[in-house]
């Protein structure tokens, strides 16, 4: 399989380390959220650094898969929110931060954005030492329009060279759209039947910041909590609908699903609908009104019959 050129990552890592050390030393930020190496060969994990000396631990590699924006949301109260926070962001992660700013969850001035010139990351870290190739790369990277995140406070000067790849989501959505409704239903029933309600999809999602998820409520119970077909299907439909017009495609839900359910397909399908209906794409600018939370006379009304 065609290898993806990640040779810039060594220089990108060095630039991130130097910048993190500088902003921590100068007191511009109270903490930097980034990635560091872990025990398994090739592995990386999120890390929160508050001491400038620890900046040397920061890295960027194809195993730096996480969208660190999740650590700045209400759902993660353990990260200190005092003062300005530095955060290492890929283009896809930045889209989530942009969305969170639009939803008044974050303020731009409270963040110091360290951008990553990103050629792509792994689809899965089951084997973190796997080489980055056209086969092992995350499907989202095959459709990425943000290899160089825009509007960061710091961006290393390297330019990633990602070859044109087959657009995996577009192809799969086209395949599913061509099926009959019965066939599509059968496909998703089979996928949702695997769900064990571990909620990893929810817990890594930067937009799942509700302090109490509707699906955790039992007075009244809105969605069956047991991992059975009805409750599983309800849960994934609720999630897809709640993320429509908000999800910018970091695909963390899909990456972390231990049952390999292709969750980002639902999100990409919703994004496609919103593009067609409202010419709207999430994550490019700070909007306080999304297409599903506002009304204009130009909105499509053909569904009213």
């Amino acid at each position: 399989m065609t290898p993806i050129d990640t040779s810039i990552y060594a220089a990108v890592s060095a630039a991130i380390r130097a910048e993190a050390q500088r902003i921590l030393t100068e007191g511009q930020v109270s903490a930097v959220v980034g990635y560091t190496a872990a025990r398994r060969k090739g592995s990386a994990q999120p890390v929160v650094i508050t001491d400038a000396n620890d900046a040397a631990r920061l890295i960027f590699t194809p195993a730096c898969v996480n969208n660190l924006a999740v650590y700045l949301t209400k759902a993660k109260k353990e990260i200190p929110k005092k003062g300005r926070i530095g955060i290492v962001v890929k283009g896809c992660d930045l889209k989530a931060l942009t969305g969170l700013m639009g939803e008044s969850q974050l303020k731009r001035e409270d963040l110091y954005l360290i951008g990553v010139p990103c050629a792509g990351v792994l689809a899965s870290t089951f084997d973190p030492a796997r080489e980055l190739t056209a086969d092992s790369i995350a499907p989202k990277c095959s459709e990425c329009d943000a290899h160089l995140p825009q509007g960061c406070d710091f961006l290393p000067p390297q330019t990633p060279a990602t070859p044109a790849l087959d657009r995996k989501y577009a192809a799969e959505i086209a395949r599913l759209e061509a099926l009959t409704p019965q066939e599509r239903w059968a496909y998703w029933k089979e996928q949702f039947a695997k769900c064990i309600k571990c909620y990893a999809c929810r817990q890594v999602c930067p937009f799942c910041f509700c302090e109490q998820c509707l699906c955790d409520r039992n007075k009244p119970q809105m969605v069956e909590t047991t991992p059975r077909p009805a409750g599983n299907t309800a849960w994934h439909i609720v999630r897809a609908m709640h993320l429509a017009g908000r999800c910018a495609g970091c695909a963390e839900c899909e990456r972390v699903c231990p049952m390999d359910i292709p969750l980002n397909l639902l999100n990409r399908k919703m994004a496609k609908e919103l593009k067609e209906l409202y010419d709207y794409e999430a994550g490019f600018e700070v909007n306080d009104k999304g297409p599903l939370t506002s009304f204009t006379e130009k909105d499509d009304q053909s569904f009213i019959k």
């Binding site: 996480n66 089979e190 990893a200 817990q203 991992p227 231990p258 049952m259």
Partner: protein, 334 residues
């Protein structure tokens, strides 16, 4: 008892069992994901991948009905689920880390309360273990005192041989019965050497030292550095062969419904959320601490056993790369 069975005869055995109405559960692919599931034919069985979820679900399903109710006017009728109706099962191709965890679970499911849902399935299931020939760097069975050839938990244990087929060794009456019922499929042991076994690279933990440290460090700043990044999902607990917490919920309408038992996880925020609104484990590191304490201290205190068989699944699936092998190794060296 020691015997030999060829791959062909093993397949024949499974097909015969299936034809006779026995539930045969083994690793198979479900829409691209390896899982322990009932087979419809021996050809579905895969032996080259560790199933994503452990074999515990053959005894402790993801979700099961434990009672149903109906209400008509003032009359309420309740029907129990009868465990006697659980099917006879042969669980085949079980990895040593999965098989070894099952007798560990016997302790908690037969302690003060006898959980007949678990225990009846245990009585009715024959476990056929399979030695491991591949390991990755998340595997750490050898670090918790087990090995790729561990036979604990197996009624019959298969070791793949050079040139094909398996050496069979029985460890219980159930294993002997399985052979005795199908004598034509087994032959006397041959001299073929076993395939090279997997070699997990993790150093052996000093579990006594680990426990001694845990005994004294319920409060310790290292819990924050270990688990601040934990996002609070249940993936680790749900793929674990030894985690066994469950929730009980009533689902249905006012007129009829079902009481169900389903997997729960101490990583969840609501796991210890009291009706009063108070939550004694109010931050994620306190929840993750419970995971380590339960596996390496509480279960040892109560049952003299370790609640971890080193399968490495939680390491592979953790969204944020929390590595229990690295954590326990470090604790053992403190």
């Amino acid at each position: 008892m020691q015997k030999y069975i060829s791959q062909h005869n093993l397949n024949t055995l499974l097909d015969k069992l299936i034809a006779a109405g026995t539930r045969v559960v083994a690793p198979r692919m479900n829409t691209g994901t390896p899982l322990y599931e009932p087979l419809t034919s021996s050809s579905e069985m895969i032996t080259d991948q560790l199933p994503r979820r452990s074999a515990k679900e053959a005894f402790f399903p993801v979700c099961e009905d434990i009672m149903t109710y109906e209400k008509e006017g003032q009359k309420v009728s309740v029907s129990d689920i009868d465990p006697a109706r659980f099917p006879e099962t042969v669980l085949v191709g079980v990895r040593p880390c999965d098989a070894a965890a099952i007798p560990v679970l016997d302790a908690v499911f037969s302690w003060d309360y006898k959980d007949e849902f678990f225990l009846e399935r245990r009585r009715k299931t024959t476990i056929v273990g399979l030695a491991c020939t591949t390991a990755d760097d998340a595997c750490f069975c050898s670090a918790v005192g087990l090995s790729p050839a561990e036979t604990k938990g197996s009624d019959l244990f298969l070791t793949p041989l050079e040139g094909g087929g398996y050496a069979c060794e029985t460890f219980s009456e159930k294993g002997e019965t399985l052979i005795a019922n199908h004598p034509e499929l087994f032959s006397e042991p041959n001299n073929a050497p076993p395939l090279p076994l997997a070699q997990p690279q993790t150093e052996k933990f000093d579990l006594k030292r680990v426990k001694a440290w845990l005994d004294e460090h319920f409060e310790d700043p290292s819990w924050d550095s270990i688990a601040t990044r934990c996002v609070g999902c249940g993936a680790c607990a749900f793929v674990c062969p030894a985690c066994h917490c469950f929730d009980i919920v009533d689902e249905g309408t006012e007129k009829a419904g079902t009481r169900r038992k389903n997997w729960d996880a101490c990583g969840f925020w609501k796991f210890t959320h009291h009706a009063s609104g108070h939550n004694p484990r109010d931050q994620q590191p306190k929840r993750y601490r419970n995971r380590i304490m339960h596996k390496f201290k509480y279960y040892d205190d109560k049952f003299g056993q370790t609640l971890c068989s080193g399968c490495g699944r939680c390491i592979r699936v953790c969204p944020v790369g929390i590595d229990i092998a690295a954590i326990v190794d470090e604790i053992g060296k403190k």
